[in-house]
């Protein structure tokens, strides 16, 4: 059995660090882990996807259409864009934050504000975690990624790892408290859902 996780966001939101912490935890549990990220041009405010697969033995590192067990979206329409990758019966954990892309800013395209509602109606298993808001209230929006990591760990019931300790050792020393608090808040948001 392989579990496939697709993290999607906008360049600069920290999907890659999130996946790094996640993969380290999963390796410590003894799983074969493969993580795939495409960066380069996409860093400049484009869509960034990071894919992680774990199980007893993983072959291909990337996730095909209809294969993701869970999508973690750092931005509202990125959840929508990633939808074709979700397995039937899969789960979405998403932030409700809206970041307008250039075609929206210059009025060429419309931003579908109702995307979260549409996804809820279609997929059903959609948990909205206001991670950006939580992070901002804690002191910096940059902790949004760790908040969503907490939500993901809760959504997949990935026990057996001291995730908070792993978060603490992976983020800049000055930001440990905020990030651990963000992790807890994200975890709780899913568990109490």
């Amino acid at each position: 059995m392989t579990t496939s996780i697709l993290l999607t966001g906008v360049g600069g939101q920290g999907t890659i660090l999130t996946t790094k912490i996640l993969s380290e935890g999963l390796v410590s549990l003894g799983y074969d882990v493969k993580m795939s990220e495409i960066h380069g041009m996409s860093q400049r405010g484009g869509t960034v996807n990071t894919q992680l697969k774990f199980g007893e033995k993983v072959y291909a590192p990337n996730i095909g259409r209809g294969e993701a067990d869970i999508i973690v979206a750092f931005e509202k329409v990125e959840a929508l864009r990633a939808l074709p990758y979700l397995k039937r019966g899969g789960k979405i954990v998403m932030d409700e934050r809206e970041i307008y892309s250039m075609p929206v800013l210059i009025g060429q395209q419309e931003y579908p504000h109702e995307a979260d509602k549409v996804l809820k109606e279609t997929v059903g298993d959609v948990v909205i975690v206001p991670a950006s808001k939580i992070a901002e209230e804690l002191g910096t929006i940059r902790a949004q990624n760790i908040c969503l990591l907490g939500a993901l760990i809760a959504a997949l019931n990935l026990e057996g790892v001291d995730w908070e300790k792993l978060v603490a050792s992976s983020v800049p020393p000055k930001t440990v408290d905020i990030n651990v608090a963000a992790f807890k808040a994200g975890y709780k948001a899913v568990k109490s859902n």
């Binding site: 990220e37 041009m41 400049r44 990125e78 864009r81």
Partner: protein, 593 residues
């Protein structure tokens, strides 16, 4: 042994270190950049440098190899074209200490201008070719590559793809061999490729390749996995993983780690054990042509696309196995999110200023962050072919326009790293040819697109040592540009930028504009601007949208007012302020350190 999760690029660096490499050089290019970045972590053991371009990098490595030091040179696929000249001849000379080239191909054009398949270089340039399929193999194959290079006296090409470079998988670490340094001996008949010697070396290398093919038959780098014998799959690199996932145990596999020279004996023996042969490969029918040339019928590119990356589903669909996955569909679409020039990017000022004169200019672009200026609303250039082409092509374009009475001025656009890479030769030609063009050097003090690598214009090198920064302006003047035809401007100063462009259009002859402002994402720039950002005073904003014309990702417009939506990334560059006739945009100072 310690197992860690690392990317293919990190694993190549680790393999080079374990193999006792002492010299490494590269020019940055996605997805290969992290190889040298990670080698620089071993700078106490490995001398490493960013070269001006891939040809220089390859020549540094070749010099080291002939001199007796194990050497590695990395580039992205198109970078190998730049390095091809020395590589084709070092294929003849062979090596002293092991010599390895790493090519990072980019099927799917994630960050590239084409999808070329560099395996084809191996038979053409007479190199050994190894194709790893995960990070463990990246490390192990690199160690093996140096041994094979010395054993057969042939340079080795390790051919990677984006998905191998940028995927992280588990790697068992090994120890470093002591630095491999062989005694240098002068051997002109082996290394000075004048015709008489080159003819003899051609004989030697063909014999070396025959011996390498014999070795490939029993090499552990090639592997047969027997499953169901109704289908035998021949594959290599990442495609092995896709094939394995798609077919599982319902097929048998010949996974080739050595894809040049291909062991014909091994392929024939494998094919004799299976009912039919499928070839699973991205890009060109490289393995397929080799198999067909052995007189073996197989199914490959007839059903597998040459375009983009493969995945397990594409493989299943191609060979008609399994059902199409069911996916969720909704009636709404996500708006496009193309990469854009960052908030505070100096290039924005240049493109915005040029846009006003766009009808009088035919701009030609190049490879770098500034390539993003091609998108609306700037529509900043018409062509983008290769590194340096943005300058050289102007000479030919200006002639072509002249022939059809088109009076527009041809502009060439490239950045500082690209200038040092290949723009220097182009600008010398333009000046020497008295070309009626304007060459724009957008100097942001760093190789930005690939993630801030040092270049000849920076005052520090890859190993963190101080280095003399080369002054591009002095170089251009030394080449003979009339100083009257030179403008050095801050691109965010719209008035100065506009004046420079007007002057360029009005001037007959070669004109040069150098824009100077460091990349907004540079650490020292971020530090200097910490917390500084702009805000829009809603009482003064009349909703005219003038500021929106600069297309800054930090600026948004709602309820008939502009506002700074992303104060975290706005660095108060001031471009939007210059657009506002109502002084509605104010600078908020940060806490400068």
């Amino acid at each position: 042994m310690k197992r860690v999760i690392m990317s293919g690029d990190e694993a190549i660096a680790r393999g080079a270190w374990e193999a006792g490499v002492t010299v490494a050089a590269a020019y940055p290019g996605t997805p290969s950049t992290e190889i040298l970045e990670n080698i620089s972590l071993y700078k106490n053991d490995i001398y490493c440098q960013w070269a001006n371009n891939e040809k220089v990098a390859a020549e540094i490595a070749i010099g080291a190899s002939i001199g007796g030091a194990r050497a590695l040179c990395a580039f992205k696929h198109v970078g190998m074209n730049v390095a091809a000249d020395p590589i084709f001849t070092v294929g003849y000379t062979g090596v002293n200490a092991g010599l390895v080239f790493v090519s990072a191909d980019d099927p799917g054009c994630h960050s590239s201008q084409n999808e070329q398949d560099n395996r084809l270089y191996a038979p053409h340039a007479k190199l050994l070719c190894l194709e790893p399929s995960d990070s463990q193999e990246c490390k192990d194959f690199t160690v093996a590559a140096f041994e094979l290079s010395e054993k057969f006296d042939i340079p080795v090409l390790i051919r990677m793809t984006t998905r191998v470079c940028h995927s992280k998988t588990l790697v068992e670490l090994g120890e470093r061999k002591s630095s491999v340094v062989k005694k240098y001996e002068s051997k002109p008949s082996k290394y000075a490729m004048l015709p008489a010697y080159a003819r003899l070396r051609h004989v030697a290398v063909e014999q070396n390749l025959i011996e390498a093919e014999e070795y490939a038959y029993s090499s552990p780098l090639n592997r047969i996995e027997m499953g169901d014998r109704s289908v035998g799959i021949i594959t290599s690199g990442i495609c092995y993983q896709h094939a394995r996932e798609a077919f599982g145990d319902s097929a048998s596999y010949l996974k080739l780690g050595i894809t040049h020279p291909i062991s014909k004996k091994l392929v024939k023996e494998f094919c004799a054990q299976v009912d039919k042969v499928y070839i699973v490969e991205e890009g060109e029918p490289y393995l397929e042509n080799a198999v067909r040339a052995m007189g073996i019928d197989c199914l490959g590119k007839e059903v597998v696309t040459r375009q983009g990356e493969l995945d397990a589903q594409i493989v299943r669909r191609a060979f008609g196995i399994g059902a199409e996955p069911e996916v969720y569909e909704v009636g709404i679409q996500a708006p496009a999110r193309p990469p854009v020039l960052c908030a505070g990017c100096p290039h924005r000022g240049f493109y915005f200023a040029m846009k006003k004169h766009r009808d009088k200019i035919v701009p030609l672009g190049d490879i770098g962050c500034y390539s993003l200026g091609v998108n609306p609303p700037f529509n900043g250039f018409d062509t983008c072919i290769c590194m340096g082409g943005g300058f050289s092509m102007t000479i030919g374009m200006a002639k072509a326009l002249e022939l059809q009475g088109d009076k527009r001025k041809v502009f060439g656009i490239l950045g500082d790293s690209t200038f040092f890479h290949s723009g220097i030769t182009s600008i010398i030609d333009a000046i020497h040819a008295k070309a009626n063009v304007c060459l724009c050097l957008l100097d942001n003090s760093i190789t930005a697109m690939t993630g801030h690598q040092q270049n000849a214009g920076t005052s520090i090198d890859l190993m963190g040592n101080e280095a003399p920064a080369i002054d591009a302006v002095k170089l251009i003047l030394a080449a003979g540009l009339d100083e009257k035809n030179l403008r050095v401007v801050d691109p965010i100063d719209l008035k100065a930028m506009d004046a420079a462009i007007r002057d360029a259009i009005a001037t007959e002859g070669t004109f040069v504009i150098v824009t100077k402002r460091p990349c907004a994402l540079l650490k020292e720039v971020i530090k200097a601007n910490a917390g500084a950002h702009c805000v829009v005073d809603p009482d003064k904003c009349v909703g005219c949208k003038s500021c929106m014309q600069v297309a800054c990702p930090s600026l948004a417009f709602e309820n008939k007012k502009a506002y700074v939506a992303d104060t975290a990334n706005c660095n108060a560059c001031g471009l939007c302020q210059q657009m506002c006739r109502f002084n509605a945009i104010l600078r908020v100072e940060g806490k400068q350190k």
